[in-house]
């Protein structure tokens, strides 16, 4: 069975008498261990899709199965528990709590999971080491660089060993060099077997993924292709290419930018 199976998702917002379909019948399957990018311009519905995949929101209609569980029927509390255990969020603006140290920020999801202090200490230290921030554990976000903040956020996303890591424009607030480092970290995480979902409008970010789903006007753009574009890049056994392989130039996917711009809001 697939990790994520979405069939005919609709998300409808009522704006006065108008109905706006932010999602207009999206179907998507994601397997365990996949590295996928959801691409599209603003207003394409990619954020709405991300919220539903991340169990922050439920569709107006359609079916969403996460690990074969129907999410649409879950209560608020059950959704919270699911997010806590199965989904690691990485945000564009990092979303660290300014008054907490790096350690305490990473620790937070474990507190909501009700883990003991000893276990938290052990796992948070390991997670900080994994993102290369062992020496910065007691620093507060305002004492960290942008790249370091995003690493803390990634450590926080990993801390409960989630089924998917969901990153929303993870390099959007970073300079290009730091962005490359963060993407390298994502590539490593993917190679280690994590299921990664990138949500981005940046083709440079998206091409790190092995499959790109293009969204336009609330639908998956089949014409642009929901195809595995970077597979050839990472050809061969997974992970064997080493860290240097990922930033290598890749053929640009068929240009989504050529479409006429959607009416702005």
């Amino acid at each position: 069975m697939s990790l994520i199976e979405a069939r005919g998702l609709y998300k409808t917002y009522e704006l006065g008498s108008n109905k706006l379909n932010a999602l207009d019948g999206v179907s998507l399957t994601i397997e365990k261990g996949e590295y996928i990018a959801i691409m599209g311009p603003s207003g394409s519905g990619k954020s709405t899709l991300m919220h539903i995949i991340g169990c922050l929101d439920t569709p107006t209609s359609g079916q969403y199965l996460f690990k074969e569980r129907d999410i649409t029927s879950l209560s608020d509390q059950e959704l919270a528990r699911l997010r806590n255990a199965e989904i690691g969020f990485v945000f564009q603006s990092f979303n660290l709590l300014a008054r907490l140290s790096a350690f305490r920020n990473v620790e937070m999801p474990m507190m909501y999971a009700g883990r003991s202090r000893a276990e938290r200490e052990r796992k948070v230290s390991a997670a900080l080491e994994r993102v290369g921030l062992t020496g910065r554990r007691n620093n507060k976000p305002n004492e960290l660089s942008g790249g370091e903040m995003q690493r803390v956020a990634i450590a926080r996303a990993l801390i409960n060993d989630p089924a998917i890591i969901l990153a929303d424009e993870p390099t959007g607030n970073l300079d290009s060099r730091t962005g490359v480092e963060i993407m390298k970290l994502f590539d490593d995480l993917s190679r280690q077997g994590n299921t990664m979902i990138l949500v981005t409008h940046d083709a440079g970010v998206a091409r790190h993924a092995r499959r790109i789903v293009h969204m336009v006007d609330g639908r998956v753009d089949e014409a642009a292709g929901s195809r595995p574009i970077a597979t050839e890049l990472l050809a061969g056994p997974l992970g064997d290419t080493g860290p240097s392989a990922s930033p290598a130039p890749a053929p640009r996917p068929p240009t989504p930018d050529l479409r006429p711009p959607t009416t702005g809001h």
């Binding site: 806590n84 709590l97 008054r99 937070m108 999801p109 507190m111 009700g114 409960n160």
Partner: protein, 411 residues
């Protein structure tokens, strides 16, 4: 989320806003401080009044023209009542449940002088020999008024220790002559000190024989004028006090020829009567105090609610993030509620501390004595925590109900 983690999370919230947290709880601090200081002063007063009431003796009965009490005495009707008489007092000595009886008449004298020294507002009481026991006035030195003094209408007196201190600081008063009204009285004894009550010395008294009093001060005035002569009775034991009261009532009704359908035209008072009067007075004070406390806690609570609402708005993004990483609505509710309760609880503790301090200072510099039983402390703390829950629930609920997606987008 574990309880300790909840508290840790809440505390982290204040550390970054120390000044704001302090100002938020100031209302609670002041409210609790007021309540605790007043409460401990009232408690201290209650204790000293209770001591006074008990010093009357649990088997003491005071018969007067009316029942002691507040506010509900018809002065005209009472002043028309028949005075008690010495014969009434003598008749009471024959009652089976009665041990001793003394007639009492009182008046206040503006000043008593002795060789250039002066004591003011002195109470002079006319009593008999048994009053030493009926009124519980043991003698420190010399002797009390005797039956012989009473029968001979002797011009002798027994004085309280306040008068000794003020009129005879360096000499033995016994054997000295004291001018009261138009006569001179030989001091034959000094009473043991009874201490002071609400800053008023209880030892500013002079006892003279009842018979002599009637000669020297024939005209009754003031409070004594309304109540006239009183008869103080001691029952044989504490257990027999109710019997004694019944027997006295029956005796007086018979002597006054009251038919069964007429109410008593006299009053019989015991320790309980006086305690009831006191409770009536302090009951009103207590209600006023509770009202003041309630208002200040209300104001403090509104302050907390106000700041919590600001804090929820300010931390919208944090709430969104917490929900995204797995906090349930209940977690968020508890987090904000815990913050409110810890804030108000700390305010309550500070208030209790300051209140006790103020009560301590007042009792150090004034005659009022403070006493704070342990329950006042728990009361202060408990009430402020309850205020925290009550006024925290609305902002906390608002935080809990935030939509995580919108909250995350909030800037």
């Amino acid at each position: 989320m574990k309880f300790l983690d909840l508290i840790r999370t809440a505390l982290a919230g204040f550390r970054s806003h120390k000044m704001r947290a302090f100002l938020t709880v100031l209302g609670i601090v002041i409210g609790v401080m007021t309540v605790i200081s007043i409460l401990s002063l009232v408690q201290g007063m209650n204790a000293s009044v209770e001591k006074q009431i008990q010093s009357l003796g649990s088997n003491t009965i005071m018969v007067a023209k009316a029942t002691f009490g507040m506010g509900h005495i018809d002065v005209d009707e009472v002043s028309k009542r028949k005075d008690l008489t010495v014969q009434d007092a003598e008749a009471m000595t024959q009652l089976p449940a009665v041990k001793m009886v003394s007639p009492v008449k009182s008046r206040q004298i503006g000043s008593v002088n002795y060789r250039g020294r002066k004591a003011t507002q002195v109470e002079v009481d006319g009593v008999n020999a048994d009053y030493e026991f009926v009124g519980n006035y043991p003698v420190e030195s010399g002797r009390f008024i005797t039956r012989d003094d009473y029968l001979r209408r002797a011009s002798v007196c027994v004085i309280g220790s306040y008068l000794v201190d003020n009129l005879f600081p360096n000499e033995d008063p016994i054997g000295k002559l004291l001018a009261l009204g138009n006569s001179r009285f030989l001091i034959v004894g000094v009473l043991q000190s009874k201490g002071s009550f609400l800053g008023q010395s209880m030892d500013n008294v002079i006892f003279i024989p009842f018979t002599t009093f009637e000669l020297s001060f024939p005209k009754a005035i003031g409070f004594g004028g309304l109540f006239g002569m009183q008869i103080q009775v001691m029952s044989r034991s504490t257990e027999q006090i109710d019997d004694a009261v019944d027997q006295i009532r029956e005796l007086l009704r018979r002597r006054r020829g009251l038919t069964y359908d007429k109410p008593d035209n006299f009053g019989i008072n015991t320790q309980d009567t006086i305690r009831d009067i006191y409770k009536n007075i302090t009951g009103v004070a207590f209600i006023v105090m509770i009202a003041v406390a309630a208002i200040s806690l209300l104001v403090g609570g509104i302050g907390i609610m106000n700041i919590m609402l600001v804090s929820v708005t300010e931390r919208t993004k944090e709430i969104g993030l917490r929900k995204a990483i797995g906090a349930s609505s209940q977690n968020i509710l508890l987090q904000f509620l815990t913050e409110a309760v810890i804030l108000s609880g700390i305010g309550g503790l500070i208030g209790v501390g300051l209140g006790l301090g103020i009560a301590g200072i007042i009792s150090a510099v004034s005659p009022l004595k403070a006493a704070a039983p342990i329950w006042t402390i728990f009361l202060g703390f408990g009430f402020s925590a309850a205020v925290g829950i009550f006024f925290g629930i609305y902002p906390a609920n608002r935080a809990a109900r935030l939509n995580p997606i919108q909250a995350l987008r909030y800037e």
